[in-house]
Structure formats: C-alpha cells, structure tokens
C-alpha cells in the first residue's frame, strides 16, 4: 500500500500547488527550493525535474543518493521524507519529462530526472498536530487556556 493517501497524491499532482524540496548541502545546511514540476510517477516515486546541472539542489540530491542522506518534500501541510533513488539523464523516461518541461517553459533545458522514494509522511496540519500535542504533551499547555 502506498504511503501517500489518495488526497495527498491528488494534491501532489495538482500543478498549481506549491511544493518545496529541501536538501542538505556538504556542510549539512538545509537548502529548500520550490520544485514547480514535482509529480508522482506510475510507481509512486516523487519526481523532481532538475533543470540546472550545477544547481545546489542537483548537487545536494546527488550527495544524498551517494551517501544515503534524507531529503524532504513539503506539499501543503504535509512533509514527505524520502531518499533519491535514481537519476535519469537519458532514455525514454528522461525524454518524456524533457518534452513536458519544454512544453511549459520556453527554451528550457532539463538536466536530470530525480526519482525520490517516499519513506515517511508527516501530517503538519495545525488542527491535527494541536490535538496530538495536547494528548501527548499535556504539560506544555498554558493554563489560562484551561481555566473556567
């Protein structure tokens, strides 16, 4: 069964939704960028289309793949943690996404198609998290909220 709920899958596939990809650089500093083409493939991978070979994100994704470091994708109120598992630079998969990018962005190029395996989904919706906090960490609550 997919880690991603059908609602979340729909949200990811919504081109108008903002999706943010966060990676770590060589000094473990986080680096987050909007990933405008982020989508799901048929196998349930998150697909990040990296347009620039020498971008910080492209190099960070490679570092993650090489040295087994996690990345995360934020979609609406959800955070998806995962690992890049494959980089396509040639072949039918690459071509399909290359043509997709070229249809949307005038004279754009595509450097790499990154496949990211989702490993954990965190629901950061405020109402959900608030309820969890109040149930699990009752001593964090300000008392004025509890008075008659």
């Amino acid at each position: 069964m997919s880690l991603l709920s059908s609602a979340l899958r729909e949200y990811i596939q919504d081109r108008s939704a903002v999706k943010v990809l966060a990676t770590l650089d060589g000094n473990d500093a986080p680096y987050a960028v909007v990933s405008p083409f982020l989508q799901l493939d048929e196998q349930g991978h998150l697909v990040h289309l990296e347009l620039l070979e020498k971008s910080v994100t492209n190099r960070n994704l490679l570092r993650s793949l090489w040295f087994d470091r996690k990345i995360s994708v934020s979609v609406g109120s959800y955070v998806i943690k995962g690992s890049p598992v494959k980089a396509h630079i040639s072949g039918p998969v690459f071509r399909r996404y290359y043509e997709q990018v070229r249809c949307v962005l005038d004279d754009a190029d595509l450097s790499c198609v990154w496949l990211i395996e989702p490993e954990e989904v965190v629901d950061e919706t405020y109402a959900t998290r608030k309820q969890q906090e109040e149930e699990q960490f009752p001593f964090s609550v300000h008392l004025d909220r509890l008075t008659n």
Binding site: G26, E53, K54, V56, R59, L62, R63, L65, W66, F67, V85, K86, A87, H88, I89, S90, G91, P92, F94, R95, Y98, E99, R102, L110, C112
Partner: protein, 419 residues
C-alpha cells in the same frame, strides 16, 4: 557457472574499499572496479538486450577484452546517471557478472547482487541507414548524452610499428571493417547528414565528440589530421545556429598554429590530447610513436599552449591508468606510481590543464595484453588525487564529465563541485 545467489548479502571485496574512503561514493567504487575487472553477460542478461531499445557493441574504435565481436550491451548506466564503460571479459578472468534479477539487469560479484543497471538506450537514428547504405550507427555512435564521431579508425603510428603498447585500434579496424561494415575513413558530408538526423531527437545529446587515430602526414606533421577534423566539424557545424557548440576533440598534440586553426575555423569548444602516462621514460617506452613524432616535453608544452587557445577548464589530457605499473619498466609500487603521477598532473593543473584517467583494460591484441591492471585501491586514490587538483586549481571539467564521457572516475567525483 555460479551467477545470482538469491538473497545472499555477504560483504563483497568492494565494501572494504568503501569503508576506507568514506568521501568516495559506493557507486563510484563499483563503477571503477567493474572497469578494472570487466563484465560477463549471462544468457539471461543478454535475453534482456533489445537492439531496438538498447545500444549494442560493435561501433567503438577499440576492441573488447575477450577479443570477440558479438551482440552485447554497449555499456551500462548506474542509478546516479553515470556510465560504466566496460568491456566483455572472459569468466576465467574473474569479471563482474551482469545477470537478470526481477526482470532487470543487475551487477553481481561472486553471486552477490550489487546494483541494478540499465543498458545504454539506443538513440532514434540507430535504426536508420545513411545515403550510402551504411547503418548510421557505424558512422556516428552515441553515449547517453554524447555523439561520437570516429573519423579515421587507423593510427599512422603503427606504420613503423610504433603504436602505443596498450592500443588495439588497428586490429579492431581489421575486425570491424570485415564484420561490421564500418568505414575506415568517414565522408565528412555523410557525417554531417547523420549528425543532423541525430539532433532531431529531443533531449538526447548535449555534446559532439571526435577522435581518431593520429595522422602524421601533411605539410607540417599532423596537418592532414587537423584538416580532416576541420572538414568534419564544418559539416557538423552547419546544424547549429551559433558559431560554437558543445564539443570535444581527442587529437594528437598539435602545434599552437594548428590549435588556433581548429579553434578559429570550427565550432570546437574543448580540446583533449592524451599523454597516456605521466612519466617521460615510460612514455618513450609505451608510446614510441608519440615520442618519435612529438616527444614528451613538447606534448606537455602543447597542452599548455592549448589553454591559451581554448581557455582554462577547456583543455585536458588522459591517462591509461595502470600501464605505469605494467611490465619490466613500470613503477615498482603503487605508492610511487601515485606520487609521481600526481606530481606531474599538478604541474599541468597549475598551468590550466586538467588530467583525467581511464582504467586500463588489457586487451588481447596489444603488446601489454598479458599484463594485469592496478588494484582498486590505487584507482580510487588516483581518482581522489586528480579530483583534489581540480579543486585546488579550480578547474572545471564539464566537457569531459559523467554526462559527456562517463569513463573517468575522477571527473565523476567533480560532479559535486559548483563549477
């Protein structure tokens, strides 16, 4: 024959090297060792090969380690997008095995599955035939992101038997010419036509590459080689709107006048001239033709001259790493070989010339064919050393990286650099 051992996950010999060099990715260690030991394709792996989808062997200027011309995958792609350019090797030489696992090709070492791999995808133009009736792939071949042109599949250093000791270009020409209908010398116009056809495929290619055997003839030595490259590059250039296009040549070490002509009269953007080994005495012994016609010190001087013509970060030289340890004249230890090689590479890097290496594959039809290449540890240390020089001297290697060549473990490491 033992191939896949289902479920076996014991440590492999590469694991120790991976532990020793935590700054080197495991995938790169695997790639380097596969280049070092070669591959053997099982019947199941060959059954996954589809000529309509994958590139098959036979188009390359050099031969295979098992000396055969047969239908096999041209090379492999790893999941980080890098290539393993390797040659089929007899099982008795202990190669890695490519076998089928879950319906896809995997690399195995001693029965242990290491990594899923992809066969290089075939470009669209491979299915077509040129105007003279030659399969287009025998005129222009492909790597995952590069168009390869081998204009002349003979090296005139062999005329007086002074070809390089590790090189089988001439024997491969004899085999390829007979068995594969590959022309020894390409018609520039036809090359241009095939390039035009190849460029119709969206997103497939990001560079044009030329290399041939040395041609000593001409008013000045090698003028004919330069003239021929210029003719070819003119035909390639007619397909591009800008005067310069991403391209690389591996040529002989040309004079500055010849280099200037190449730069001024064509769209060429980068230049490589392979010195093969960074030691004068070994160069003279292993590359007697290059020594006779140009000489070691002049070869290096011409590389530095090329930086003035093409610019820093656009010139490099290649090593056939491992030959410096081969035979009775090689360095006596890997430590010494590494130190002496990196010392000379640094002298070049200081002057703007990058050095890359390929892992030497001893091929049967060569004088060094019965020798062994170096240890995996040596190749990893060499890759780290050459990469460190590029960091120290801030030398970009984008024209000869994993996308455009894929044959240099050291330039794979440079993928993480911002330049």
């Amino acid at each position: 024959m033992r191939l896949a051992l289902a479920g076996k996950t014991a440590p492999t010999p590469i694991d120790e090297v991976v532990r020793r060099y935590p700054d080197v990715p495991r995938l790169l260690v695997i790639k380097t060792d596969v280049q070092r030991r070669g591959v053997f394709y099982s019947d199941a792996a060959l059954a996954l090969l589809d000529e309509t989808q994958h590139q098959t062997t036979g188009t390359h200027i050099f031969g295979a380690r098992d000396g055969l011309i047969a239908l096999r995958p041209e090379s492999l792609l790893l999941r980080d997008g890098s290539s393993i350019i390797t040659t089929p090797t007899p099982l008795e030489e202990n190669p890695y095995v490519v076998d089928a696992k879950d319906g896809v090709p995997w690399l195995f070492d001693d029965g242990i599955p290491l990594e899923a791999v992809d066969y290089w995808p075939a470009p669209d133009f491979y299915a077509r035939t040129s105007s003279s009736g030659v399969p287009m792939k025998n005129i222009v071949s492909a790597r995952p992101q590069r168009l390869n042109i081998f204009p002349y599949r003979y090296c005139t250093f062999w005329n007086n038997n002074k070809g390089c000791s590790f090189c089988d270009i001439v024997s491969q020409l004899k085999k390829g010419g007979k068995e594969l209908n590959i022309p020894a010398k390409l018609d520039p116009r036809e090359v241009g036509d095939v390039i035009g056809e190849a460029l119709k495929e969206p997103g497939r290619f990001s560079s044009v590459f030329l290399t041939s055997g040395s041609i000593v003839s001409g008013q000045e030595a090698f003028d004919d080689e330069v003239d021929y490259y210029i003719q070819i590059l003119h035909e390639v250039g007619r397909h591009f709107k800008a005067p310069k296009f991403p391209s690389q040549i591996i040529g002989t070490a040309f004079t500055k006048k010849q280099l200037q002509r190449l730069y001024d009269e064509t769209g060429l953007m980068s230049y490589t001239s392979d010195i093969e080994v960074l030691n004068e005495e070994l160069f003279n012994k292993l590359c007697p033709g290059k020594a006779e016609w140009i000489g070691y010190r002049e070869w290096k001087k011409r590389l530095v001259d090329a930086v003035e013509v093409f610019g820093p970060g656009r010139v490099n030289t290649g090593l056939v790493a491992g030959i410096e340890l081969a035979g009775p004249h090689g360095f006596s230890s890997e430590d010494e070989a590494l130190e002496r090689t990196l010392d000379e590479a640094e002298e070049l890097a200081r002057q703007g010339v990058s050095t890359v290496f390929i892992v030497w594959s001893p091929r049967p039809d060569t004088p060094l064919g019965d020798q062994k290449n170096a240890s995996l540890d040596y190749y990893i240390r060499l890759a780290r050393g050459l990469h460190a020089l590029r960091v120290k001297y801030r030398l970009p290697i984008g024209f000869d990286d994993y996308r455009h060549c894929g044959n240099h473990p050291d330039s794979d490491l440079s993928r993480l650099l911002p330049y």
